[in-house]
């Protein structure tokens, strides 16, 4: 997640203090993983150095929370090009579960059991997210759905693998 560009986007609606940025970020995008103050001020000072934000005013007193930041036109272009560019799809080729399955087959342990245990664990989390959706707003549902679809993709891979275990075992141990 690019914290810098997200800050720039939030600043487009008007100048804000660092604390305010952190709070808005946490509420909308933090999902139970709030930013540290260190991250917030490190990000802001980098944006400042790169000319993407500027100080909008410093109130008297001590400490970083006195500063108000505004986005510059270079900052606005930066968000814009970030939003317009595609994210690199992750190929997920280094998967722990894959390693476990192959290792189980190589060492003569039950790969079916490990897949069954993993399914139960995935479903446990999927239930939790499904319950959370019932109480959340649409924006919160969106992030839960994102997680749910990814977990479902894991499970589909897992079922397919479970169906192929006999063939896989023969090939791996040949």
């Amino acid at each position: 997640m690019s914290i810098g560009q997200t800050f720039l986007g939030l600043l487009e609606s008007g100048p804000r203090h660092g604390y305010d940025l952190k709070k808005t970020y946490d509420d909308r995008f933090g999902h139970a993983r709030p930013l540290h103050y260190g991250q917030v001020y490190a990000t802001l000072s980098r944006l400042l150095k790169d000319g993407l934000v500027e100080l909008d005013g410093v109130e008297p007193g001590e400490g970083p929370e006195r500063k108000r930041y505004a986005v510059t036109s270079a900052g606005v272009s930066d968000v814009e090009s970030w939003l317009a560019s595609a994210e690199k799809p992750e190929p997920y080729l280094q998967n722990t579960l894959y390693t476990k399955v192959i290792l189980a087959l190589l060492t003569g342990r039950s790969a079916a059991d490990l897949l069954d245990v993993q399914r139960a664990e995935h479903l446990r989390l999927m239930r939790e997210l499904t319950r959370r959706k019932a109480g959340g707003d649409l924006a919160d549902n969106l992030i839960c759905d994102h997680a749910l679809f990814h977990l479902e993709a894991d499970l589909r891979w897992l079922e397919l693998t479970a169906d192929r275990l006999d063939d896989l075992r023969r090939q791996v141990r040949a």
């Binding site: 069954d116 245990v117 399914r119 139960a120 995935h122 479903l123 446990r124 999927m126 239930r127 997210l129 499904t130 019932a134 749910l148 679809f149 977990l151 479902e152 499970l155 589909r156 079922e159 479970a162 169906d163």
Partner: protein, 231 residues
């Protein structure tokens, strides 16, 4: 498991010719709980559901509803049990095409001998509850797949059954409509205290359940419970 389960299948075997559809499957459903039955295609999920619902008679093993052996009942007793205690939602083809959606929902009540006016008044409450207010007077052929499934959910719940059997209830729907059907089905079941036996191969659908049982080659596994017991 404490107390008597609402519904219980114990050591179920069922063969269709040479095919062993169930090969020692066991499951226990408590009142009001939502249990997903998962597993690969052909593993015996639907056969298990049919045995539990008294639609298919197992070759051996026991099915008990509130402690009473279903296979010991007469055909008449079994169909009365299905009519008054159970509700059903299938993937498709379950609504009577000649009746309106409202009449379809009212049908199980009519079969119990409830008068038309009262049956349709009760059915109309379910139309509202399942966001179906505008489809009551339409026939099943004139509504969308998602609306049709919600009508089927209403029809399954209108008699306030103790158990609802749902076999791939969202199998023919897109994600958004599938979600809506699952949300309404599970909310309504929780409100009325009905247990749900939910057959699905989709994990997102199983996400609406309280726990899952996996069927493979006609045998059941309760992995979450095994994991707990192993601790």
């Amino acid at each position: 498991m404490t107390g008597q389960p609402l519904l219980e299948g114990d050591g179920l075997h069922k063969a269709f010719g040479p095919t062993k559809a169930l090969d020692g499957a066991s499951i226990a459903i408590r009142a009001g709980e939502i249990v997903a039955i998962m597993g690969p295609s052909g593993s015996g999920k639907s056969t298990l559901l049919h045995c539990l619902a008294g639609i298919v008679r197992p070759d051996s093993g026991h099915v008990r509803y509130q402690g009473a052996e279903i296979s010991a009942m007469t055909d008449g007793e079994r169909s009365a049990l299905r009519r008054t205690q159970f509700g059903f939602v299938f993937q498709f083809g379950q609504l009577v095409p000649e009746l309106t959606c409202l009449e379809n929902i009212a049908l199980p009540l009519r079969m119990e001998g409830v008068r038309r006016r009262e049956a349709e008044a009760r059915a109309a409450e379910w139309l509202d509850r399942l966001d179906l207010a505008d489809v009551g007077s339409k026939r099943p052929g004139e509504v969308s797949g998602g609306q049709g499934q919600r009508v089927a959910v209403a029809r399954a719940l209108v008699t306030r059954p103790r158990a609802v059997f749902a076999d791939e209830p969202t199998g023919a729907l897109d994600s958004l409509n599938g979600e809506r059907v699952m949300r309404l089905l599970t909310e309504a079941a929780r409100e009325t205290g009905a247990a749900v036996v939910l057959v699905t191969h989709e994990a997102r659908v199983a996400g609406y359940s309280d726990r899952e049982i996996v069927v493979r080659d006609g045998r059941t596994r309760d992995i979450a419970r095994e994991m707990e017991e192993a601790l």
